[in-house]
Structure formats: structure tokens, C-alpha cells
């Protein structure tokens, strides 16, 4: 059981890290960025390619992976969102444009084979790959019947710290206040001399960087990097998490992430079989009907 709890905490951290970025964008823009899970995948893919195909050091690769993800955040803003804002298009349009971008990213990785257009990005096509052993230190201890694997353990402090930092920034710094101001009342924000567009771009950079990092941690720690990790692990679950926690609420997303991790593992342990993904959603469905604002979603009323 102890091992299972560890599994839950690990995957929970990944969900939380992913969902924090997801919910951040929704909180500020009231838009679901459906390209987020593609960015998750991209981060992992870039890191792997740099290490294995371009012989870079693991740490450098991670940094670049995160940077590329952050850059993709800018692309999302400039290609998918800003043009639509300018045209006062309904949010649903942004939904579609981000879907389009996700399609491009995934297809590019999926079709990356030697000799193809995207060979520089990915050469293994649809194949799942794992980081070659030894590319990064991964000590493993066996304590009291528990297996403590370095790469998995590392994920937990990394994501917790990052989420605390983000929480601190949002709560106590000038930039954080500005972001919240944009989220609450863009007009007022502009009157205070805040450049709303720049703030939104910043939001997407932060969000995507976190998403990319989540992808890297996931791929490295689970030894599973493929064009589909985003789709299979976080795409839909991410929605569940941010709703469980209340749309736009960062602590909510964190809690929701860990909660989902726990629910799923318990489902596996208690109910067995492949009910895993479903259980979370059954819960989600009930909660939306019973308590639509989620745990932390006090601001739901304004959001709708």
C-alpha cells in the first residue's frame, strides 16, 4: 500500500504541475487552452531528442525543453489568441484555434522519422521511447519494502517548490497583483498603466513552461516518451483537475491534482480493472452537479 501511496503522490504532482498552468490561463483569460497537453508532450520530446539524437547533456536538454515550451506559449498567444481578441471573437473560437495548434504539434512529432521534415524534432515516429539509462543519475533505494526511485522522488519536491513559488508570486509580488488585476478587471488594469497584452503573454509563457516541465518530469521518471503521453495522461484529466479545484484557482488545481492521483490509485487498488480514468470523471460529474464552484472556486460566479 505504501508503494501505491507513493505512486499516487508522484502522478499527483505531475497532474498538479500540469493543471496549475492550465488553470492559470483560464483564470486570466477565461479560455481553455487545449494546446496545453501538446506543450506537455513537446517538452518531453525536445528534451529526449536533444539528449539522444543531438548528444547534448541531460541538464542542458531539460532547460532547452522548458524554454521551447515557454516559447510555444508565446506562439499560442500570438497565433491563436491575440488575433481573435483583436476581432472580439467569442472564447469558443480560441478553443478551436488552440485545438488546431495542438494538432500541428502532435502531428509533427508523430510524423518525425529519419529523412522527414521533422526529423530534427523527433525521429521515432509513433514509437514510445525511454531515456537511455545513465543519461541522468537515478539512484534507487529499497527501504522497508518500499522502492524509492530517485527520478520519481525528485518530481515531488520540484513540483511542490515550483507551485509554492508561483503561489507566492501571484499572492505577494507586484507582477502577481498585476496578473490578478488583469484577470479580475482588464479595464481597471489598463487604467493603472498595466500593459494587459504583455501580461497575457507572460501568463502563457509561465503556463506553458510549467506544462513543458511537467511533460519532461513525466517522460523521464516514467521512462515513457511518445507523441501520445499528453493525450493519454493529462489532456482530459487536466480538465477534471482544474474543475475539481475550481476554475482559475491555483491552490485548487494543486489540491485537485493530488486528489485525482489518489482517487485513481485507490480505484486501481480497490476496484481493480481499468476503471481508473473513469472514476475521476464520475466524481467530477457528481461534483459539478452538486457543487459547481469546486473546492476553491469562490469566484465561479464572476467567471461564468
Amino acid at each position: 500500500m505504501g508503494q501505491q501511496i507513493l505512486n499516487a503522490i508522484f502522478i499527483g504532482s505531475i497532474y498538479a504541475l500540469f493543471a496549475v498552468g492550465y488553470t492559470l490561463v483560464f483564470g486570466v483569460l477565461d479560455i481553455l487552452n487545449l494546446a496545453h497537453s501538446a506543450v506537455f508532450t513537446l517538452g518531453a520530446a525536445v528534451t529526449y531528442t536533444l539528449v539522444v539524437n543531438h548528444g547534448q547533456s541531460f541538464w542542458l536538454a531539460c532547460v532547452v525543453g522548458i524554454l521551447v515550451a515557454a516559447l510555444m506559449g508565446l506562439v499560442i498567444e500570438y497565433v491563436c489568441l491575440r488575433p481573435l481578441r483583436r476581432r472580439r471573437a467569442p472564447p469558443i473560437a480560441a478553443l478551436i484555434s488552440t485545438i488546431g495548434l495542438a494538432l500541428i504539434i502532435i502531428a509533427a512529432i508523430e510524423q518525425g522519422r529519419p529523412g522527414t521534415l521533422f526529423a530534427w524534432l523527433w525521429v521515432d515516429g509513433a514509437n514510445p521511447v525511454t531515456m537511455p539509462p545513465g543519461t541522468f543519475p537515478n539512484p534507487t533505494w529499497h527501504v522497508a519494502g518500499l522502492t524509492l526511485e530517485g527520478s520519481k522522488l525528485a518530481v515531488i519536491p520540484i513540483s511542490v517548490v515550483l507551485m509554492l513559488v508561483l503561489g507566492y508570486v501571484m499572492r505577494f509580488t507586484q507582477v502577481g497583483r498585476a496578473l490578478r488585476a488583469v484577470a479580475e478587471n482588464p479595464r481597471a488594469a489598463r487604467l493603472m498603466g498595466i500593459d494587459v497584452d504583455r501580461m497575457i503573454a507572460l501568463t502563457l509563457i509561465i503556463s506553458s513552461a510549467l506544462g513543458g516541465l511537467a511533460g519532461i518530469l513525466f517522460g523521464v521518471a516514467l521512462g515513457d516518451i511518445s507523441p501520445y503521453i499528453g493525450r493519454d495522461s493529462v489532456e482530459v484529466r487536466g480538465l477534471a483537475v482544474i474543475v475539481l479545484g475550481g476554475m482559475g484557482s491555483i491552490p485548487g488545481a494543486v489540491l485537485g491534482g493530488y486528489l485525482l492521483g489518489l482517487i485513481e490509485v485507490l480505484a486501481v487498488v480497490l476496484l481493480g480493472s481499468n476503471v481508473r480514468a473513469g472514476v475521476a470523471f464520475a466524481a467530477l460529474f457528481l461534483m459539478l452537479v452538486l457543487r459547481p464552484q469546486g473546492f476553491f472556486g469562490a469566484q465561479l460566479r464572476e467567471k461564468v
Binding site: 507586484q174 479580475e184 479595464r187 489598463r190 487604467l191 498603466g193 469566484q299
Partner: protein, 510 residues
Amino acid sequence: MHAVDGVTLEVEKGSIQGLIGPNGAGKTTLVNVITGYVPFQAGKAWLEDDQLTGLPAHRIAGLGVARTFQNIRLFKDLSAVENVIVGMHSRRRDDTLAQLGTLPFFRRDQRARFNEAHRLMETAGLDPGEVGKRAAGTLPYGDQRRLEIARALALQPRLLILDEPAAGMNPSEKQGIRELIERLNKDGLTILLIDHDMQLVMGVCDRVAVLNFGRKIADGTPEQVSTNAAVIKAYLGTGSERQASSAPGATGVEAVAAEEAQAKAGSKPAAEPANSILDVHELSVSYGSVNAVRAASLRVAAGEVVALIGANGAGKTTILSALSGLIRPASGTAVFDGLDLTTAKASAIVRHGLVHVPEGREILGRQTVLENLELATWARRDRAAAATQIAAVMRRFPILGERRRMRAGTLSGGEAQMLAIARGLLGKPRLLLLDEPSLGLAPQMVDEVFAAIKEIHDDGTTILLVEQNALRALAIADRAYVLETGRILLTGSGDDLLHNPAVRRAYLGG
């Protein structure tokens, strides 16, 4: 806090009942309660012998209470005719099956409905042939108002509630609305009329009720009301007896021209400063088809307090928004200390020292008072100075100091206004735009606000003040511009305008 508090109002069948009161008096809230948009906390409402209390809005409408909205709420992308047809919903038999079969009688009904819609539009003074097929959102402002009335009539209401039907209209349009209301009433329709335009209200209403701070302070015939001291006080603000004696009279439209001349004669040619820090020339702003500001020119010199006054919808707020870069003017120039305001980004404008304290305050309710203040220094580079100034501001407005840890959303109207002004100051403005700082505030709060404004000015900040409490505004203003329906009507020194009847007209209608 009570928006509406223990108000009793009886509308006599077949009569026109007026409901007036200064901004924030709770008129619209009252209407929303009656029509089921805001739940009753206490009290009841009947339409003849039908209980309205607690019914959902659509049921109330079904019972025959039709309303228009202060800020027009047409179905913008439907054609004018379609808008009216939607209004027939509640008394139209469910023809779903008929449509599916496209049965002949459905077509007949459809035609009948179109004809009726056309008739209703004509009643409301619209030409169906001309505007019928156009999308409602593309109609001129006046027509949109009329269309909303036509749509309301489609319910065949027993009671018609008009919420500011004449707001932002020019005299001739207002005259049209007035005739429309009288015509509808002659056909036996009971009407509850809410409007700022005394001249209209006093002219058409059989009885008038006056609200202030959610309480009814007067009720009676127009004559009784217009001479009621409490009413005048509520309107022109807490001035001295001298102003109070000049009551808002129901001067007829025919008198307008005369007053126009009188105004021109009365006011000296505007003594505009030569070297101005803000120079606005021929500025025009329009929302879609609505020309909110038409070629307005004004100048503000460093160190001045300039007031911008005029009735609701005259375009005061629009001018300020254009200056602070929230909306882009259609034409004209506006230069602040070398910065072209018509092209600069809002953020750049603030950094250049032009700070706008908007109408309705727009404080960040979810953040604490302190956070609001700290964020207000965003555009500044001098962190240290900003910190000390925050402390200073909290000393100047002690209430903010006390409440610094509270969410700004919990502040009362007055406190919120203080916060808004304080926020403006922290932007380190060289020119401060204040929009309706006393809006909906209790008299003693109003005094505090103006005290604060005076202080700020004494510290050497230039101020452009938009205020509907004309007397207070003019009292502290060096100069003032009087705005009517987007045009600068006249300008002059504060004192001079104080005694100018045209000002009263600009406010109390014409």
C-alpha cells in the same frame, strides 16, 4: 446596504407615473425587483390582482409587465422586425409542429406576425420599410430606443416600464419620445417612466415619485415635487439656500431657444488658457452608429481644476475614456504634454502622467485595499518614493489605513471612492481625470470627497473633473465646460456658470 428600502409605490391604471432621483438612488433596482430580476427581500408587488412577488421574470412578463432597459438590451444580431416578433413570444401559440409541417396556417400566422410587428414599429415611430430588415445593433441610437419600446409593446402589456428612454438623446429626439409616451398613454396604456430629464418627466407624468438613497423622499404632482426643497437638495447637491431657491422648473421646450440666447449672452467668451498641458481639438467619438462625442474641443492649463458638466449621456465619460486610451476617437486630436493621446497605449499614457479615476471606481474587489494601492504604483520606477507615498496616502485617507488588509470589495461606496482616488494619486499624475467622484454618495461623504479633491489640487495636481453635482463641481472649478449630447454647449469660469440658467437646463433637461 440597502439599494431599495421600504418603498411604497402605486401606479394608477391608465396613468403615467414618473420615478426620478439622482444617480444611485435605486430607481433601476426598484424596477429590477418589480420585474423579477432581483429577488424580494421584503415586501410585495401586485399587478391589479395578480401577485408578482417571487415570480420568475418570464412569468411576470407573461402577466403583462413589459420593460425597457437603461442600457439598451436588444437582440443585436436579429433584424428589427425579428426583435419585435420575439416580443410576441408569450402570447403566441406553440406552432412548432405547424412549422415542421410548414402548414399553410403557419405561413398565414407568420405573415400576420410580420404585419403586426410592422404596425408596432410604426407606433413606436420607426419606419419598418426602412429599418425593418436591418440588424438591431446597426440602427442609430434613437431608433434602438424606439425599437426596444416596440418590442416591449409586442407583449401587449398592462404596465409598461420605461427605464431612461430619453437618455443621451438630443432635444428633438426627446420631444419625439415624449410624444410617443403621451400617444401610448392615450391608447390606455399604463406607464411607469424613469428618467433623468426633469423637463420630460415633469411634462408627461400625472404623478411623480422621487427616490434618494433607496428611500422615497417625495410623491405627488409634478408641481408639488418640483418645488419640494428635499428634491432640489437631492438634485443640485448640498449647496447654500441661494441655489436652492432656483428650483428646477418644468420650462417648456418652446422656452429652449430663449434660454439658449440667454445662455450665450450670460456667459463671457471662454477664457481658455494660452499654454495648456492638455489640448483637445475637434474630438469625435462614436460607438458603432452612436455619435457619443461630436467635435468637442477643450484645453486644460497646468494647475487648473476644470469641470466638465452635463446631463447623463451627454458624453462626459466618453471624453475621459478617449483621453486615457480606453477607446479610440473617430477623429480629432488630443495632446497631453507632447503625447498624442489618440494613438498612445493606455499604459504609456499613465506612465506619461495622465491618470483616469473612472466612473464607478472599478476598484479590484478581490484584492485587499493595500494590494490595490501597491498595484497603483505599477507604472512608476521610483519604488522607494512610491512606498512612502502609499504610507502618506493612508494617512490622508485614514479609513484606507484601517482597512488595508480587507478585500476592497467589502468597502462602502464612499470608502471605495476614496480608494479609487488614492489609487489615482499613486499613479503620480500630472493630470488627474476624475469621473463622477461623488456618484451615489451620502452628503457627508460628498463633502469628504470634495475636500480631498481640493487638497490634491492644492498639492499642485491639475484636475479635469466630471461631476453631476454641478454646484459642488463649479464651486471648486477654475473653469468649466458644459456638455450637451456630445457637444460643448458653452464654457466659462466656475462662478459665472453657477448662475447661468443654461447650466440648469443642461441638467434638468430641455
